[in-house]
């Protein structure tokens, strides 16, 4: 997987911290690997919506990557609960179920964006930059400009 120009927090130049929520361990590991190529850091993981809420409180990540179909509590409901408590939360839904109703429901309940699985790293990278807006800065890649 090709590395991307690292995205950093504008305020302190630190790596973006991610909370990855998916009931599939395989999907979580895959996302963690992609995040690494963005220069990001894995702040925490959760396998369901309930755990996502407690992990958000514990880790206060910059970005949450949230699956939709999960046991116990689904991603859209978890996103709504997190945003209710933390309106500044940046949640990107990452799901294979990408029909319009689902996307609209997620956005209405507080998610900032949607990426369909299988995840294309270049698509997720652009979405992350968009969602971070001015709070994210693309750092010069090592060796760039040489």
């Amino acid at each position: 997987m090709e590395p991307f120009a690292p995205v950093r927090r504008s305020k302190d130049g630190q790596p973006i911290r991610y909370l990855v929520v998916d009931d599939s361990v395989f999907a979580r590991k895959n996302l963690a690997r992609i995040i690494e190529t963005f220069g990001g850091q894995l702040a925490g993981e959760a396998g369901d919506g309930m755990t996502a809420i407690t992990e958000y409180e514990r880790t206060t990540p910059d970005i949450v990557l949230m699956d939709i179909t999960m046991p116990q509590m689904e991603g859209i409901e978890a996103a709504e609960k997190i945003v209710k408590q933390h309106p500044e939360a940046r949640i990107v839904m990452v799901s294979s179920v990408g029909y319009q109703e689902n996307i609209v429901a997620a956005l209405q309940r507080g998610a900032r964006h949607f990426v369909q699985k299988p995840v294309k790293p270049e698509v997720l990278y652009e979405v992350i930059k968009y969602v971070l807006g001015e709070d994210g800065t693309v750092a010069q890649a090592a060796g760039a400009g040489a």
């Binding site: 009931d23 999907a27 179909t69 046991p71 294979s96 029909y99 369909q116 299988p118």
Partner: protein, 161 residues
Amino acid sequence: MELIQPFINAADAVLAQGLQCPMAMGSLSMDEEAYRRKGVAALISLTGDIEGRIIFDLDAETALRVASRLAGAELPESDELIKETVCELANQVAGNAITALNDQGFRFRVHPPALHTSEHGTQSSEDTEALVMCFETNVGNVFMNIALRYNRNHELAAAGA
């Protein structure tokens, strides 16, 4: 067949993108006998306007090669990893197919994938299309078994609404 085609298209797209290799459609047949599991299998249930299930089935060696290809690195053999890979593959194919069917006006819910441990499964019946198809990839064969039907209760409820 209108219920099945989106799943074939989704499997084609997900496998081709994930494995980054050419893929060929192998055998396609009505599963007249009760389904017999071939390797590690994941089952996804659908409820709503359409109901039924999809089973993804790979032998362990193929699942490991698929996992390594998806991860972009050689992964060590582990039962858990193999099960996770098959479930995630099923999840992605079902999700993409459901997106297409939803755009056609069907409304239903997809349930999280579960390991299908039974040796046998549902066979075709009068109102359930059960098809088994094989996708041939350069990391091995991936089998998809689909048994879906229109939910008449949902249709009647919609008509009476």
